[in-house]
Symmetry: C2
């Protein structure tokens, strides 16, 4: 008998569980990145580069000041994982592009997130679909800018 099974968890319990899983996943990500000599923030920025993105766009994506992006890109560029390209339409803009090496590294980091992958393996296809649908419902509330 599992008398402690919460049939109706409080919002607080759910909130704490989400927070705990979020930080656990972040740790997993950070340690995978560290194995390749990257910080979590650097890896996250690298992960946003599906195509050329202006510095300003990165600041918006990462919800931080533009001057912060300068430093992060500086360090990535020094390692050859990223390039700054002039924008043909607007000479103020610098577009950031991942190099081949950059793309390869971020792909490896994602693949090496062992804890996250093994956690998701605990669910079958159907359960994952249910979880995805529920989380998708949370998104609009969470991403609204206060």
């Amino acid at each position: 008998m599992t008398a402690a099974l919460p049939q109706h968890p409080t919002k607080t319990q759910l909130l704490e569980l989400v927070a705990a899983l979020g930080t656990a996943q972040w740790q997993d990500f950070a340690s995978a990145a560290a194995r390749h000599g990257l910080t979590a923030v650097q890896a996250k920025l690298l992960g946003q580069l599906k195509g050329p993105v202006p510095m300003r766009g990165l600041a918006t994506l990462l919800l931080c000041d533009a001057s912060n992006v300068t430093g992060i890109v500086d360090r990535l560029e020094a390692r050859g994982l990223v390039r700054r390209e002039p924008d043909p339409a607007d000479r103020r803009v610098k577009n950031v592009v991942a190099t081949d090496e950059g793309r390869e590294i971020i792909q490896r980091v994602r693949a090496e997130m062992q804890a996250t992958h093994s956690a998701l393996d605990a669910l079958d296809e159907q359960e994952r679909a249910t979880l995805y649908a529920l989380l998708e419902r949370l998104r609009p509330g969470l991403e609204r800018r206060a």
Copy 2:
């Protein structure tokens, strides 16, 4: 017609969704904390103090070096939100305790996480129970130390 509805989202999609929600919640937490002059890390530490906790225990909880905890507790103590008490059983140990003001502030921060609360309001009791159960299944995989 919603043809794009993923009946069976890939692990990658699910992973990215979890990551997005995790960082959104963290931002929410950080901005609630900032309204009270606290950083997210300070608020997180404060939230762990249900009773007296030794410095070493905090380092373990926060998955960081003990010397890091020293600085964070220093700043919280300077604001009077936390106290260091000697441990009666072991004179090496210093137990950290939240002051009344500290308890009050962390409670307010939690209550003021508007985005998170409104996100959870999008689900009814039954859905929350389902979500909780699914997330609980993810925990063992995620929290295993690699």
